[in-house]
């Protein structure tokens, strides 16, 4: 059993995490990886950048709790949770959740549980800097929490 939780400004290498989850544990039959990316807006809007603030110490504790809760609930062989902070650009990787297990259903459900719960309980906040139309001055907004995320978290 291998559980890894990291909060970092640096980018991550999905393939490296995949190879770790895949190779290290026996008898692994399934790996599910989720990668969350900085999504641009639909034209004429344009995302300039995203600033991810977090609560150091609490973020790591909450992600570790998610990993522990998933491992208690499903039969897992390994979990990896990486979340970036700081300034990110469109297309950048924000978050990686990787889960390995003997059978696919455990890996799929645990990965979804981790993402849904992370979205509503891990202390990260996004601030977007965007242009409303080409040539307009960039403005910054704190992203509002979505009711749909709250509903998705409640199914677990």
């Amino acid at each position: 059993m291998s559980n890894s939780v990291r909060v970092q400004t640096e980018d991550f290498d999905l393939n490296k995490e995949y190879n770790h989850l895949r190779a290290a544990h026996y008898p692994c039959g399934a790996v599910v990886l989720f990668s969350g990316l900085v999504r641009d807006f639909l034209p004429p809007q344009q995302l300039i950048s995203l600033e991810l603030e977090h609560y150091p110490g609490m973020t790591e504790a909450m992600l570790q709790q998610l990993s522990t809760a998933a491992t208690a609930r499903w039969k897992l062989l390994g979990t990896t949770i990486i979340h970036r902070t700081g300034k990110l650009l469109p297309g950048d990787q924000i978050v990686l959740v990787g889960v390995s297990s003997a059978h696919r259903t455990d890996a799929f459900e645990a990965a979804q549980f981790i993402m849904d719960t992370l979205k509503t309980s891990a202390p990260f906040w996004k601030k977007e800097t965007l242009k409303q139309y080409p040539g307009s001055a960039p403005e910054s907004y704190w992203v509002a929490a979505k009711d749909s995320d709250e509903q998705l978290a409640q199914r677990w």
């Binding site: 969350g36 991810l52 603030e53 977090h54 609560y55 110490g57 609490m58 504790a61 909450m62 979340h83 924000i94 978050v95 993402m115 992370l118 979205k119 509503t120 309980s121 891990a122 202390p123 990260f124 906040w125 996004k126 601030k127 704190w142 992203v143 509002a144 929490a145």
Partner: protein, 82 residues
């Protein structure tokens, strides 16, 4: 003494990232809020917002959560990571 932290939108609106609350003799979060609002009356409306989230020593908490000297209390808006 209680360490109090504010994050994100809340930090910007209050113009404060963290503060040390001294001479607090209450026992829970609700009393801490009252105590802070007495010192900063202009924060009252923000502190009454329904969606304000609370953590005590890095764990989610609520108005009834007990606190003691040395605790770290954080107030923040709904989270938007992932």
């Amino acid at each position: 003494m209680i360490k109090v932290c504010f994050f994100a939108d809340l930090r910007e609106r209050l113009g404060c990232a963290d503060m040390l609350v001294e001479h607090f003799s209450g026992e829970n979060i609700a009393q801490l809020k009252d105590f802070i609002v007495k010192q900063h009356p202009q924060w009252e409306k923000i502190f009454l917002e329904k969606k304000l989230l609370i953590a005590v020593n890095h764990a989610m908490a609520n108005n009834n959560s007990a606190i003691v000297a040395g605790d770290e209390v954080a107030f923040f808006p709904p989270v938007t990571g992932g």
